[in-house]
């Protein structure tokens, strides 16, 4: 009886060991694969990377639906999470179809149907290498600005006088509130390596702390009772403190 019991216990231990080893290997492979690649540009409407990885069923219907062959499915062994759609703007950018066929084709909602207007897509953000941008170097280029589907909003041209010539410099500036990350600018950029390129927001965008008060912006209300460390107790009576900082009234009221 005891020998039988021992044998049984050994069997259980062996089975557990095999199962645990297998599961660890499997988990490791999953981690390797699903590790969100920092440079992956997803089709319009894609959920945040982690949700996207969970929801995407890897069917490639978005790839089928794209009329410009922009999208590709990541192959096994590549850098991107296996089987998920992505695009490389320098090869083929997203041409922002107004009917968003890729999103419409998505059966799972990994490309969220909440995206109603293609101009609200935020696939990435264009950033300019100021040292190698022809315009910033002083030449007249502005190709990215002219090609931008949202020119005047996503990319604007600013003029800047320069000392050695009477011709002004015209340099492009990207605005994150309008840039869709379509990458048409990156495709169009005439430099050998694109001087403007689209990157995922989290790779390029900073975030200032909430405690910074930009007193000169129109919609920032400056109050004395700003306490970032301690949120106001819900039961506290409304503060009777003055709404504006003393000494600032003359600016807000336009008098001087």
């Amino acid at each position: 009886m005891d020998a039988k019991r021992r044998e049984f216990m050994v069997h259980v231990a062996q089975g557990t060991a095999v199962a645990a080893t297998g599961a660890m290997l499997w988990l490791y492979m999953l981690r390797q694969e699903a590790r969100a690649h920092p440079f992956a540009l997803r089709p319009p409407g894609a959920l945040p990377e982690q949700d996207f990885n969970a929801a995407c069923i890897k069917c490639g219907k978005c790839v089928n639906a794209c009329p410009y062959d922009t999208l590709e499915l990541a192959a096994a062994g590549g850098d991107l999470p296996i089987g998920t759609p992505f695009f490389i703007p320098r090869d083929v950018p997203c041409y922002l179809c107004p009917d968003i066929p890729c999103m419409t084709a998505c059966p799972t909602g990994a490309l969220s149907p909440e995206l109603k207007d293609i101009n609200d897509a935020r696939m990435g953000l264009a950033v300019i290498d100021l040292e190698n941008c022809l315009s910033w170097r002083g030449l007249r280029c502005e190709i990215c600005h002219r090609e931008c589907p949202l020119k005047g909003k996503a990319i604007t041209l600013e003029t800047h006088p320069r000392p050695i010539s009477k011709h002004a410099m015209f340099y492009p500036i990207v605005h994150s509130d309008a840039c869709t990350g379509c990458g048409i600018c990156e495709k169009a950029c005439p430099t050998d390596e694109a001087a403007i390129r689209v990157l995922p927001h989290k790779m390029v965008q900073g975030r200032i702390g909430e405690h910074y008060r930009l007193g000169w912006t129109f919609d920032t209300e400056i109050t004395q009772d700003f306490r970032p460390a301690q949120p106001a107790a819900p039961s506290a009576p409304p503060a009777a403190a003055p709404k504006r900082a003393p000494g600032m009234d003359y600016l807000n009221e336009g008098g001087l």
């Binding site: 199962a19 297998g22 599961a23 499997w26 988990l27 492979m29 999953l30 981690r31 694969e33 699903a34 982690q50 949700d51 990885n53 969970a54 929801a55 069923i57 890897k58 069917c59 490639g60 219907k61 790839v63 089928n64 639906a65 590709e72 499915l73 990541a74 192959a75 096994a76 062994g77 590549g78 999470p81 296996i82 089987g83 084709a105 998505c106 059966p107 799972t108 909602g109 149907p113």
Partner: protein, 310 residues
Amino acid sequence: MNAGEELRQEALASIEKIRRRTFAQRLWSWRYILLRRICQFGILLMFFGTAHWGWQVAKDVPLLTGNLSAAKFIGLIPLADPFAVLQIVLTGHVLQTEVLLGAAIVFTFYLLAGGRVYCAWVCPVNLVTDLAAWLRMRLDIRPIFHINRSVRYLMLAAALVLSALTGVAAFEWVSPIGMMHREIIFGLGLGFIALLAIFLFDLLILKNGWCGHLCPLGAFWSVVGRHTAQLRVRFDASTCTHCGECARVCPEPQVLNLKRIEAAGFVYSGECSNCGRCSPLCPEGSLAFDWRPLIRAHNARSGKAGSRVN
């Protein structure tokens, strides 16, 4: 001659019948295998043609978009892999109706046809593993070790548990099946290395190693078709001579336990993939595809006829 010897002679006579088939008879006995290849390649071709040559049934109505994970037929009928959908649901993601409907359609189909019909008639990896099994038989390669065929159910459970734990569909992210059909339809990657590994494993290490022992998708479909499959191989015990040739060609020989299937009247196991190897080979016609509701009546009739002869 005693009864045992008589039975032995009967069985040997059956084997002799198989050996003496003419070439035409041999070809005819491969009919299901040929049909399966047409079906497997046809499905891949429809996906490929739609993706690369813009095949459509009408203007702007593509024939078959997507792949075996999720697809849309003639722009109307959604299709989806219920196992993939189940994994995604377990990650906690709320799915859209389209993919749920597609999974329900596919699920219902296999519920009635027999779950593992997918394995033999649709799955592209079957092309690789069948080739390995055929070569293995040709080269007469002995197994290195055996593993329990129920390991696949452990793999199935692990896929579901890991999906819930990691938040990504655990099998879909490592599936050689997914790699194969994606890479055929959407372009090559390194997935063929995984397939090569499966091929070598099946050829040199374990017979029917992947499909018959490990694949969690096959395990899923085994469970699905178990009690509801309507298309099954009926077994007519009154004509069987127990020659065993069916079990020799069967990739899942445990489903051909003659005592048990005699009691049921048909190959009832969910692990039978309706691959159509045994039935055309059977020299006595004891095994044949039939609709489940008709099987009992058929066997009762033939049992009576058989006893009259004896």
